[in-house]
Amino acid sequence: MKRTYTKLIFEVSKKGNKGYQLPSWEADNKSTDSLIPSDFLRNEDVELPEVSEVDVIRHYTLLSNKNYGVDTGFYPLGSCTMKYNPKINEDMAAMAEFATLHPYQPQETIQGALELMYNLDKMLAEIAGMARMSLQPAAGAHGEMAGLMVIKAYHQHRGDTKRTKIIVPDSAHGTNPATAAVVGYDIVEIKSTKDGAVDIESLKAALSDEIAGLMLTNPSTLGLFETNIKEIADLVHEAGGLLYYDGANMNAIMGYARPGDMGFDVLHYNLHKTFSTPHGGGGPGSGPIGVREDLVQFLPAPLVEKNEKGYYLDYDRPLSIGKVKGFYGHFGMLVRAYTYIKTMGKGLKNVSEMAVLNANYLMHRLKEHYYLPIDQVCKHEFVLGGLQADTMDVSTLDVAKRLLDYGYHPPTVYFPLIVDGAIMIEPTETEGLETLDGFADVMIKIAEEASEKPSLLKNAPYDTDVRRVDEAKAARDLILKYTK
């Protein structure tokens, strides 16, 4: 009964129920319209739910029991790095010394917090091979936006105003072209090669003195290392453009390769991917950006600096693109990421090692049963092209839905777009062999079901509160608010 709980809070509502008690009113009663001009008064009652305290608690607890997260099961959502978030991160962020700070406190009273930001800046810059970071951006796409604003400021500062275009490969995350457009750039899309790498000839053809930069991730969206990265960087730099690194796939190379050494000029991290801060369910995310030395002057203000008196927020940054976020970013996430780096230490290299090993293990177990378009050593994730040809009437979506019956969060599907029926699997380093084998066994079983009894998959899932959802209807007929 409780497992299938599907009520809205409005359906729990009963007239007259309430969860508060006010003291009796002793002053004279005045009508609302004698106190507030009638122009500002609503004509109808606000339709708020009327519920008791225990009703509220039960309602939201029952809903929360429906959550699926890394703490409840395996979550191989490709390109999202759904790794386990160590609970020590939460302990540190909850320390009263951090949690009770007010952002307007005098700076001499928040030296510890400023020191943490200063050190995190240095550590993240070192891992990326960059000169300096800004910890302000709220999440990945916001980091991309701030990073592109830095690139724009760089070109404008040089008086080079012709550069109005950004190159984005067709395999890129959708946020890349979206953020470039928000910053006011035109997008030039270039094709990928069959193995998902940058097509050098297409790149050459796209480069000109109108190009502000190239946005790229390495390993590529197919989870494969871009071996031509030096040549790509040289070509873009020769044309006067800058290289932007999307840090989505940083979990594959941490401690082994640095975007700065590959020739990237600007990058963003996703602390909620690589550095184990909460992901999904509102996070919030955190998307620090890093830049090479001569671009530091354009970073958002303030940065944390240090002098003989201690740490301070430096607003005196005349060429800065300005503030991109209220106060100093998602500070609680910075504490968690800092804790992660400090507790892992040299173990950060093992993170990438195990992330790559786990992905390759799963790829090898699954490639006999699913179509693997590019059969080579992958990095932290790999992309299958759906079921093998003889079971083509069963789609990738059906496989994903069937996985729900076995209690797994499905992998990313139908992305990247350059692989038909893509199933993108990223196991992360925090999963043990038993979990990987359990998942592989189920994926293989589903492939067998697909050829023996396709209808079983076509109608899946069976064992969830809500059965197969009509995705087209959900997108076409939007219901955005409750009405009686």
Partner: protein
């Protein structure tokens, strides 16, 4: 699944069809394209009077899988848009060759020479599949 190709239309490599009427043309997406996109949930149309060059983005087609740019197979000025698709985007899935998206005044009829005929397009699709 074999996609349908209609005789007498011009086809682009980006899977758009062009039906020429005098110096004007109707433009839509092919059966192959609608199959690849999956169920279409939204079609973003340009404004009447807008002018686009060959290869420029004139609209967006959103399906349950992805949002894809719709590219001009030939340059032209928008004379009319199929506003029925705003309420019934699924018509592109049901009848891709009846559900034109835009009607344009061709800016340069010689650009049609860069497009494929039905037979060439069929071969092009077979190679892709």
């Amino acid at each position: 699944m074999k996609s349908k190709v209609v005789e007498g239309l011009f086809y682009s490599k980006d899977h758009e069809w062009v039906k020429v009427e005098g110096s004007n043309a109707y433009i839509g997406i092919t059966d192959h394209a609608q199959h690849a996109l999956g169920e279409i949930v939204y079609v973003e149309l340009p404004e009447v009077g807008d002018e686009f060059t060959e290869g420029e983005t004139f609209g967006v087609i959103e399906s349950v899988k992805a949002a894809s740019d719709a590219l001009m197979p030939v340059g032209g000025k928008i004379l009319e848009t199929n506003t029925e698709l705003e309420d019934s985007p699924y018509m592109v899935n049901r009848e891709p060759y009846e559900s034109w998206i835009i009607k344009v005044e061709l800016s340069d009829e010689s650009q049609l020479e860069n497009l494929m005929n039905a037979k060439e397009y069929q071969e092009f699709c077979d190679k892709e599949e």
